[in-house]
Symmetry: D2
Subunit: 320 residues, 4 copies
């Protein structure tokens, strides 16, 4: 974050705050000309500071972002926006009241790969979107204050929300805790949408291999987005079925289509750099960010419902 | 099936029955010395026939297997054994009464890869088994009489049952139907076991890529079984975490272990050939097959519960 | 071969000859209605036999094919056509004299993947072909009578010849013999063409992994043909460079182009089946096969030159 | 380089020299406390500077390193050490005369993967090393002053030299120039050693895919080192052949061994950081670096011979 702010021509990295003193020292060495402090009030009081980036444990997001907005600062907060729907709503309302930008760091939205996915979806070439399946697993990093859903699922929920602009109606989830750890280290989340679309995320901190693979099934084409691939991240498959409903059960009702596969080229840019640029643009020109407080709230609504479903052993929870 | 029976030195391929006449003609050409008939009674009446293999649509399994057992034949029936728990129980009871072998064609159990998995699990090197996650997806083949769960999940349920010898207590499932097809073409099945083990299967007929990947998470080691790989199907990862529970939330509680990866070698034999050999052995020596009627019943119990959970939008269904 | 002939509607599998008696017995069991003999004269004398397929060790190709042609039979002989340029020329001349089809079993030419490669090359989309690089390695099967060049390089030489229709002017090769085996088990072959095109083959019987990968570099696009991939065998890369020659050495002279990657779809058919069909067509309609005796001769010319270059420690050998 | 020097606790980044003024300005911004100059004499005259790192075009290596050594500085020079054997010998002799460290930046030697390879070779588990085959290809970066051999082959030559400590006796090479570019953009280099070992490198700036794969064939085991893999870079295959020489040509002479595959774990550290640490250690404690001037000279001897072989259309050039 600090590096990307510093490299952005429209921003000036002015103050870095960290309550871990040794970490603050390392930062000071790297950025000798930046003020380093362990007192957040130093930031709030500094009239020259227009915007604050909150990159702290989730449980502190609400307090820090709230006081920054109160002090008239624009705020970019790491995902998830807060640890509850209630506090997310409050932040959102405050940001509207004080007319400041409230942006959530759903970084993937600013990656060239997800931008390309968005283009593909917008082009209509997939037909009707039928399903969205994502596997996001690896070994580590177990968090201390949030379980794996709150840590990893925001990526998938925000990408989905960005791609289709809809909110699910039902959320089910299953989680597993490992080896006396008191937080779920693995979970499956299943979303149902009113129009029949389904989405499913497998998030896991205790997997032997790193997988970051999303499959989007459409009625015309299908997409595989493999974020672990260094260059060929997105493949568009001209594949599908045509269903002809005849009465006789012995007639072939399903026809399979298989055509070429396309791997679209896009420039590889650091997503965080794009995001910081977008934040600067929103602040300067009073725009709403792509990942605004409202998006952040939608993500937390799904997370909270998933949490509740886990408690109920997988019973679906309504989002209305 | 026919080829493997013919190649087995302990068996003689005597009669092939098919109600599709053109298919029967092709078979006759390939096996000129084998009797071909479209009347199943020809098989039942032939005293010299000791064993019958039922490889027909699922809805016909019960009737054909039942009458074959009644006629004193040993029976090998394709998976799933029948289309309901009730009929599976009846078949099982009949087989016990007439003292004939009732075996289910859960082919994977006889594959060298699953045999190797069984050895790894038995060796105890994985520690406690924490989760079993399987993805079994590709484009096609949509079935006319059963949905994707009844078609593909029997593989995973039977492998799991073989590896751990336990039956789940809770089953949840979500399914999706595509493009006016009246059967689920995609589904997620989640199993919970009394000891905390969880299992999850993604089965899908409408996926752009073929994936056959199972991850088994253990407390000591983890395994990835990739059946699409031609030679390096199984990888054993010496990876995991050690959890030390300290009170302070800011101390590192989790330590990660990462060691070598082992790819065990095993001879590649056709699973069906091993299975037929096992069937012959069971018939000759009055043994219970690894995949006997009881195993087949356990599989159908899970399938039926998953079906019920889908109807209830994912609500967990108890297996007791 | 036998199976493919039997399945071809335009052919009748009449006689199989093998001097290995136990092998002949197995064959007889599989094809009960086919005459099996260990006397090749039985084939030559049989007036009803129109065509002979020679699938024997290379050193016997010449004698068997020669006598079959002499007896008025059409001949399909496994690759390489013979073990010397001299004998290949003689076969070719005899086939012209007796007006019989002489076809060489360069199977790859009939594979859908190589057919697709041919289409891509013909379309001109690659621009000028700059290089052809092939790696064809795995563990086994060491041959007893020919080294790895004579065993594996015919695939690459015939594919190249089919794709570009040109013969190289210079051949260099390096080989290595392993562990007292008296034949090269690994070799590198380098071809130079008059127009600047270069080709290079790495063939190896003692490699830990199976690789079948060909890269074709063109001035406009490039192709990777990975025959080990089950479905996505061919990838067309819209990649390359543009060279602008400026005087100053500090100016950027090279510009890189990177566009989409295309994976063309094609139906997967067994190459041997296509080949047998083509052979039948050539016999019936007096056509020249794609892989005729002349093609077979060109392949052996390169093989012989490569062999000579190995003897001379890699010195280039002229093909004129 | 600059970053790694700055992060090394035993070194102080004192002066950066660049004749490109705009580049110098960017560097000054990043390292505000470091002196930036476009006059190399500033470095030579500064008595407090003990060591100089030369990271410039190859044609300037000799002059800059020579004058630095003359001025009593220790020198680390990018690979290849110089552009000719003659100048490499002179540098080496000067470094011995002035008793200063002369180290060449063959970075791979300091990578954890190559260190692991060295351990595997030293352990003897591979048996006799039979061949070393490397493919090092991708699109770009075409150099202005050196061809692809001088750019990429130093990696393979230095790794080989490090692993086996021997110098080849014969060098052959083929090169191709593309699209009016006057330097080879693709080349094959073949090395023969007195004991029968062969090595082969395919280096290419105009390839559609990035490949960094080395296969080492041993009489007992074989290794694949795939540097593009993020984590599983090295695989050790317990594979090979046993040759039993019997007279009869129809008896099976070769037996194949296939055992487990091992993927050894090692920590991932930045090679350049290890290298800089080693340079500091050599300077402080008057040690010879692993990649000293002598190693650098051996690399250039092979490069020069390869260049000569290309001129002679692949004729082998003796290194004696």
């Amino acid at each position: 974050m600090a590096r990307n702010v510093q490299e952005n021509p429209d921003m000036e990295l002015r103050t870095i705050c960290d309550i871990d003193v040794s970490s603050l020292e390392r930062v000071q060495q790297r950025y000798p000309n930046v003020k380093c402090t362990s007192d957040f009030q130093d930031i709030l009081r500094d009239k020259k500071i227009e915007a604050v980036i909150v990159a702290t444990p989730v449980s502190t997001h609400y307090d820090l972002a709230f006081s920054a907005l109160k002090a008239g600062k624009h705020v970019l907060v790491e995902k998830p926006i807060t640890d509850s729907v209630k506090s997310a709503v409050e932040l959102l309302e405050l940001s509207e009241k004080v007319k400041r930008v409230l942006m959530v760091d759903h970084t993937y939205i600013y990656s060239p790969a997800v931008q390309m996915l968005k283009n593909i979806v917008l082009s209509g070439e997939l037909g009707t979107m039928l399903y969205y399946d994502s596997v996001r697993i690896n070994l580590g990093l177990f968090q201390h204050d949030i379980n794996v859903i709150w840590d990893l699922a925001p990526h998938d929920i925000s990408i989905m929300h960005y791609l289709i602009g809809k909110t699910p109606s039902l959320v089910s989830a299953h989680g597993a805790r490992f080896m006396n750890h008191d937080l779920e280290g693995m979970a499956y989340v299943h979303l149902t949408f009113d129009d029949g679309l389904v989405a499913h995320f497998h998030v896991n901190w205790l997997a032997p291999v790193k997988i970051r693979k999303t499959i989007i099934g459409g009625s015309k084409k299908m997409v595989v987005y493999n974020d672990v691939e260094p260059t060929e991240k997105i493949k568009v498959y001209d594949k599908g079925i045509d269903v002809t409903t005849e009465e006789s059960i012995f007639k072939t009702l399903i026809q399979y289509r298989t055509g070429d596969i396309q791997i679209p080229h896009f420039e590889n840019r650091e997503a965080l750099s794009v995001e910081i640029e977008h934040f600067a643009d929103c602040v300067k020109n009073s725009k709403f960010p792509y990942t605004d407080g409202y998006t952040g709230l939608q993500v937390v609504r799904v997370l909270e419902a998933a949490q509740e479903s886990i408690r109920k052993e997988g019973q679906p929870v309504s989002l209305d």
